[in-house]
Symmetry: D2
Subunit: 340 residues, 4 copies
């Protein structure tokens, strides 16, 4: 069975396993104070062209989101997200578990706009309501869409004008940066955002997310916060090692481009067969809509998530390509789809 | 330089890396719903002779402690620990971060006794004070000491009599179970404790702690709690894989015994040289006391933690052996120590 | 200037001040363990025809909401509310501050329906999302609307079928129970709800909300929870005294009816003048819509809250009558309004 | 029966009830934005000679403590208190409920010293432990003892040197400021402390604690925090009214002095009869020790708290005088005590 279920189904890129094996029984300093973490942080600072950035390595996305948001907000402050945002829907209330409300704006494509944010600011004007203090965006989003540089700049400008922090969840930043229509670069991120992370888990790492604060003062005592929220890994060198490998010889973007390339092949093939999409996603998450009667046959040969019913006779599914997806899998899927 | 700094400095046992490599680009179900986790849980249930136990895999000790304690306590309920307990001293307030107070009893050897627990119960009698609801013990403790079966049984009996839950932190349970003087077995744990975990991080795993609830009803909705507290690993199969390997052919106890064997060699060698110990630890953590003037030379050739000043001219250091420690390292250390 | 700003602007009914004066320098047991609290609780149990109910007195509505919700939910569990619900909009994230997410359903009239609740249940099906566990309704609602017995029964039935707790915020239950169209009684509340409160603050008390758990087992250790969340009043006898007076000779409903009577007079008068309403509220909160140019004159003579712009030339204001509102005030307002 | 149980048993000073009655049906702005609160805040600023201080009125002590501490600390920061401190022992984990650890130092008399604080700072040196950020002292303490100006100045100096905030719980500051041996004044408080409160509940108010931040910047958005933690009273004008009355014609200190005067009479009388004290308290809380066989007779005629067994045959009780205690009560107690 071929899997299009997600981009974190496979173990990790072989280069990472090789580096792990090379460690042997070497003794490493604990908790991320090792040379692998230092090297990886240095590479990331170069990549984003921000020599003063504070870089910390966390284990996963939900943990990164709750740890960062809680570090930067006072108890009564809230974070603004799209209604489909991961922190709002898919984290079992982890952000609320740290005491903070998530304010949401509806939107068909998973993206926030300055107008949405302004509407929330305008309706929160006194101490009987939470105080909006941060804007959370994902790139790419839950629906596979991306922000252009102009869009993210407009949000960033609004945030600075209104004293809001801008936090970009980059669990799939690799997919975003090589997407059709993207004009953002790594170097734009610290310029536009106060804090963001570069996702490893969904782009070939064994595990790990690299959290970046453009201004190191904002990261003051962040290691206390990581430990306080349960996220400090004893063998922190594992996280550094993953990113050190991924940011050697541009492996990170090469893996993302491979996933993107296969997503394009899959999208174009489906489009050629007349299959409609719920969202026009330019990244490695596709949301095609199928007649219900075609799904049982597909489900026997392919693994994927069901997004939901579109109407009584049609269902949207999610197909995700990864660094490990094969052309063979894509072609097999396309072969299994009837032309309309 | 030889390291006696801790038992989580090295990557992991080679058998684990082999299994990781064998995964290749196989697609695995996410979040711990895979066959590795199922296999590992089955092996653990056999090992502890508790076929109904609920087994969950978490990433690290602090995360396990806060997630478990918060899952089982109501907001105003508290957990009782030794004054040197990890949750009290070395977790940056992670348990308090979930809203719960840690009540402590002083004790020279890192262990709780029924008398200490009773004293706390007796002084907490109304709603103006927190309600003690759980007892937290570590085996082995922060000071390397262990509980005998009689001692743990006495605490367990007291807990049941007073409606307290008993939680055993087994981050170093391997070290405890092969210690000199130990008479506990894995099968005793679910019989005496409501919840405990078997530590992987400190005994050869890449990462992971296996949390066991003797009564599965107590683990109801625990997966929600894991996710809520940021501890659900996307590639959860990694955790299952580690424990599947460790509980194949008794590797887990073989690794612990190797560390123990070298700790005995180190302890006996130091004792033969007249070096005194702060605590009489029967496990892989040793606390020898040295004249201050001897330490600079030791520190140049060996890495270890300084526990603290004993008096104006003496300092206690901590030496930890691991599954990866070599006889050569032990002998080098002994050779560097003057006989008194 | 006449005030229609809210129903908690005035001190309290004179009968309460008289009872306070009568206390003199009598020494009372602290923290609500006094005879006033016992007497008031007894009167409430009679009133609601639920002899086993657990009754606790809290100081205010936000405090009651957060204390109750947090007492009954596990960390990852969530409460369902209308989008306009007080806990969602007007409590500065107090519920989230205790760690729980508020899930909302949109609705024009401030009320929840079984269909809305079902939709939320259907979209929360695994551990990656919070677990809905409680339904929160207000009667009367933020928009002055009320639940009929049939409506509340349908919600109650749904809750029981799906294992949800039903919590009714009765900060304005007096207003609801004497509203046009109401067919609920005090005795219905413990039959249909798991927990509710009878608001004092907005119906003539100096301060206080009487929290009622139909099943005392649900209130187990609730006094610990009150103290833990900062809500235990040292002079708790003050709270009991207020409710003891309010539930003597039916004063509570007499005060509510007086407010209701004046609300009817105001509503009918406005309707007769052709003034439209944003919501058809049958209680003491009215939401008339005025041309913007009429407001400056009204604002000079009357105090009220502005609800918001309806369109570019019209604004909705909120007029609230209380136990202390006078016919003179109502008539003066009506006299100031032009007929359309 | 005469009560020496506590200083918050009685309703309130008659002057407060008179002012309440005078309110009649006057409509007041809600949530503390009224003229009573403004007037009271002004009087307090004059009293403490700190014209820029931010003054907020809260309902009770536990609420004030948790709201203030949580407002000023980041999630991983901790507060230092005496082992007998109210926040540590008698608040059912309210501070931990907001996520913060309480670090304690033992001490026989309920007071902290610079040496105790330094010892805690010295043992908390990295991110694996909470970060001490605030010192909490009470004046008078749980044991009725007080801080001299030199003692509080030494703590204040230490705090400033180490970047710690100093918070003084003044629930019984009236008792402290008229105690034998006191040399502190109201004007010293904002000079030495970052935040403190002046207790109303235990000195004649119906309810209320006046929270003072010397530097208004430290109180930024504090009204959000009050609401977030459930402490914003709808009828906030009640709190302002209490303090407006108490700080008119020096009533606050006159009430405290009356309690103090009777405490002296009681202490001297007991001492004359040879009764020993557990602590040498100079304030309105006395801790005499009685042979167990004398207590049943005392308990029949007088109400008091039992502090605890001193040895097998002696028990310490707590006697508290208040603004409402009578000479008759004191003399009756003394008459009931046998001379040794």
């Amino acid at each position: 069975m071929y899997s299009f279920r997600n981009d974190y189904s496979e173990c990790c890129h072989p280069a990472i396993l090789e580096r792990l094996s090379a460690l042997g029984t070497q003794a490493n300093p604990g908790y991320g104070t090792d040379s692998c973490c230092a090297a990886a942080a240095g590479k990331i600072r170069s990549l984003i062209q921000c020599p003063d950035a504070a870089v910390h390595f966390l284990i996963g996305g939900t943990q990164a989101n709750m740890t960062i948001i809680d570090a930067l907000l006072r108890p009564f402050e809230a974070v603004i997200a799209a209604e489909s945002g991961h922190i709002h829907v898919h984290e079992t209330g982890a952000v609320e578990g740290t005491g903070h409300k998530v304010l949401t704006a509806p939107g068909a494509d998973g993206k926030l706009t300055p107008a949405m944010i302004l509407r929330i600011l305008d309706s929160h004007m006194d101490e009987h309501m939470v105080k909006p203090r941060m804007v959370y965006v994902s790139d790419s989003t839950e629906l596979g869409t991306i922000y252009t540089r102009a869009e993210l700049t407009a949000i960033s400008d609004l945030c600075r004008e209104h004293g809001l922090l801008l936090f970009l969840d980059g669990a799939r930043i690799g997919a975003a940066l090589c997407a059709r229509g993207n004009d953002l670069t790594f170097a734009d991120l610290p310029r536009l955002c106060d804090v963001f992370y570069i996702g490893g888990t969904k782009n070939g790492a064994l595990l790990g997310e690299a959290v970046v604060f453009a201004d190191p003062e904002l990261a003051r005592d962040f290691r206390y916060q990581i430990k306080h929220r349960g996220g400090m890994l004893a063998k922190g060198f594992l996280l550094g090692l993953n990113f050190d490998v991924l940011f050697t010889d541009n492996l990170y973007m090469r893996l993302a481009e491979r996933a993107q390339c296969l997503a394009v092949r899959l999208r174009d093939g489906l489009a050629a067969r007349g299959v409609p999409f719920l969202v026009d996603s330019p990244t490695n998450q596709l949301f095609p809509v199928f007649p219900n009667e075609e799904l049982p046959a597909l489900a026997q040969a392919f693994s994927y998530e069901v997004s939901g019913a579109v109407d009584e006779t049609h269902t949207c599914i999610r197909l995700v390509t990864s660094w490990a997806t094969t052309e063979e899998a894509v072609d097999a899927f396309l072969a299994a789809v009837h032309s309309r």
